[in-house]
């Protein structure tokens, strides 16, 4: 679950509980649509994957991107356009969205990694805003209206996705594949070098690693996975609009990750679930959602920097050690 977990003294006990946790989670996700509203669950899964992709960058390379909506929303536009206008099959549309987000990631990433820390955040924010302006002006995004009425179609020409259950299991499969990819990346030698860069960039350079290439590689992977989430969202909700590319969306994904726990694998999933549930709950009342999101930000930063999963992990570790 967490890289640190492997280093602990009762390591095998922890690994076994991790496996058990994963098994229980997957079973829970499989039966969930029979107890909860499937559209809500699909929304959570899309945003959870988006947050996990974002976390790959902040949690494992230490880079705070304030423009990840570009990849999420950009992919949503590409997928929606491919499926609706070109009549593509949904899965290939989603994959095209992910590839498109990866290409955007190369452009944004190559510029942004030229500065570090706080500047990186400002540059990604500014480039994200620029992308949002472009989306407002180019014809294929249909400006303020967005691309509406995207057909869900048949998966690989076989499975009809118009029903909520079929769509849910496809979304779940995409989420699990994305999540597994992130888990593999984090635990690969490549992931260890990323962590080394996060901990001490100069040291990593002096050890002979071409840090910029690793950073760009991580950036593009994170962008593509965010695009995978965005493309899936466009099929699930059957539209792509400006909301998905604007800076508020970049802020939301930061909040989900921060609330759940930066640098933990399950944290972003927990954070996404909570934030989406909260938004759904508040949609009925007239309490301004932005204010609440702001309050959670302030509380997390001041009191709760490890996030929910981070705190839980620290608790388990204390118990395992003591």
């Amino acid at each position: 679950m967490n890289a640190d977990a492997g280093r602990l003294s009762p390591a095998s006990r922890l690994r076994r509980s991790t496996l058990a946790f994963a098994a229980v989670s997957i079973v829970a996700l499989l039966v969930a649509p029979f107890f909860l509203y499937p559209v809500f669950l699909m929304s959570v899964l899309c945003f959870a994957l988006f947050a996990c992709a974002f976390n790959l960058l902040i949690g494992y390379v230490g880079l705070l991107s304030f423009g990840h909506a570009t990849f999420f929303g950009g992919a949503a536009y590409i997928t929606a356009h491919a499926v609706k206008v070109w009549g593509w099959e949904p899965l290939s549309g989603i994959l095209l969205g992910a590839v498109g987000a990866g290409v955007l990631g190369v452009i944004v990433g190559a510029l942004a990694i030229r500065r570090q820390g706080i500047y990186f955040a400002m540059i990604t924010l500014a480039l994200g805003q620029m992308f949002a302006f472009i989306c407002l002006q180019v014809p294929f995004t249909h400006g303020e209206d967005g691309i509406q009425g995207v057909p869900r179609g048949h998966l690989l020409g076989l499975i009809d996705l118009s029903g909520p259950l079929a769509m849910y299991y496809v979304t779940l499969a995409i989420f699990l594949i994305g999540f597994f990819a992130i888990w593999r990346i984090v635990h690969s030698p490549f992931g260890n070098i990323l962590k080394a860069i996060r901990e001490n960039e100069r040291r990593a350079i002096s050890l002979g690693y071409r840090v910029d290439r690793y950073k760009l590689g991580a950036f593009v992977m994170s962008a593509s996975l965010a695009g995978l989430a965005g493309g899936t969202k466009a099929i699930v909700f059957q539209f792509a609009t400006l909301t998905d590319v604007q800076w508020q969306m970049s802020g939301e994904v930061i909040l989900m990750t921060l609330l759940g726990g930066i640098g933990t694998l399950v944290g972003p999933v927990v954070g996404a679930g909570l934030v989406i549930a909260l938004q759904n709950y508040l949609a009925a009342s007239d309490f301004p959602v932005t204010v609440l999101i702001g309050i959670i930000f302030v509380i997390c930063v001041l009191l709760f920097r490890r996030g929910i999963a981070g705190e839980a992990m620290a608790f388990l570790r204390r118990r395992a050690a003591g």
């Binding site: 705070l64 500065r115 706080i118 955040a121 805003q129 620029m130 930061i254 932005t290 999101i293 997390c300």
Partner: protein, 295 residues
């Protein structure tokens, strides 16, 4: 009608003027950001919200107490400054010594709270605020009509920028501030109250944003979201200029404002993104920024 490069001259002058005005706000806001960042190592995301608070303070002072533009020019920045001091004392202070990203996230959260609350109370629509009678009307300069208030904004912002620069470069307080930016521990060892200096700096930076807000109120409409889009452009301006130099922030602000105005005449479709494009080019050619130092 005279033309320059096929563009009518009055349109060109008009857009240059608008560019200068936008540039004034870019300069004022990036100046405040640079002052705060220099000492606190915090990127103040709430800067746009504080600018909006300044404009709203002026609007509310007039609507509820009848206090006009000229007193508001002093009172509104003071109010914004005082709230900023409270924020620094109660929240921002706890984050010194941590990763500077936390300061960015905290002030981002604060900006969301302030803007969300104002939108809840006042709605998203803009509210008009008329310029004071002394500054309404227009001057005929022979080649164009200059609305007096706009001329005043350009001059006032130049004076404020210059004043802030003098305060930092030529006064004792400024010397403390620059010294603490270089080495806070050493300055504290000399008996300067650095924590108070930090509080004061954040208050001053926020008050500058509030002052810009009051200046902006008669030009743009007073609305809860007037700051949030502006602040992102200002971030790009700061990346272009580099935050190492106060004068650099000011010059870059005006320069990019005018460039944006010119783009509006030559190729209007690109006017909303030209500053970001400049930022991308600067990052490729000179990553540290035009006036920045490599850190």
């Amino acid at each position: 009608m005279s033309t320059i490069f096929g563009i009518s001259a009055p349109a060109l002058y008009g857009q240059i003027l608008i560019g200068l005005i936008n540039g004034s706000f870019y300069a004022l806001l990036s100046l405040g950001l640079a002052v705060i960042f220099g000492l606190l190592r915090v990127i103040n995301f709430a800067h746009g919200a504080q600018y909006m608070l300044g404009a709203f303070a002026a609007y509310l002072l007039l609507a509820y107490t009848g206090i006009g533009y000229w007193p508001a020019l002093v009172v509104a920045p003071l109010l914004v400054g005082v709230t900023a001091v409270v924020v620094e004392r109660t929240m921002l202070r706890r984050l010194y010594g941590l990763d500077p990203l936390y300061g960015l996230l905290l002030t981002f959260g604060l900006a969301l709270i302030i803007e969300g609350a104002f939108r809840y109370w006042f709605g998203a629509a803009g509210k008009p605020y008329s310029p004071p009678p002394q500054l309404s009307g227009a001057l005929n300069l022979g080649f164009m009509f200059l609305p007096i208030y706009r001329g005043w904004v350009v001059i006032a912002s130049l004076v404020i920028c210059l004043g802030t620069w003098l305060l930092i470069e030529k006064t004792r307080l400024g010397a403390y501030l620059r010294a603490a930016t270089e080495n806070a521990t050493l300055v504290q060892a000399f008996g300067v109250d650095v924590p108070r200096l930090l509080t004061l700096t954040y208050g001053l930076g926020a008050a500058l944003a509030g002052l810009a807000g009051v200046l902006a109120a008669p030009i743009y409409q007073v609305s809860p979201l007037m700051g949030s889009n502006l602040i992102i452009v200002v971030f790009a301006v700061v990346v272009v200029g580099g935050m190492g130099s106060i004068l650099g922030a000011i010059v870059t602000g005006y320069m990019l404002g005018v460039l944006e105005g010119l783009t509006k005449v030559i190729y209007p479709e690109a006017s909303s993104i030209v500053i970001f494009v400049v930022m991308a080019i600067v990052l490729l050619v000179r990553p540290a920024g035009l006036f920045g130092r490599e850190e």
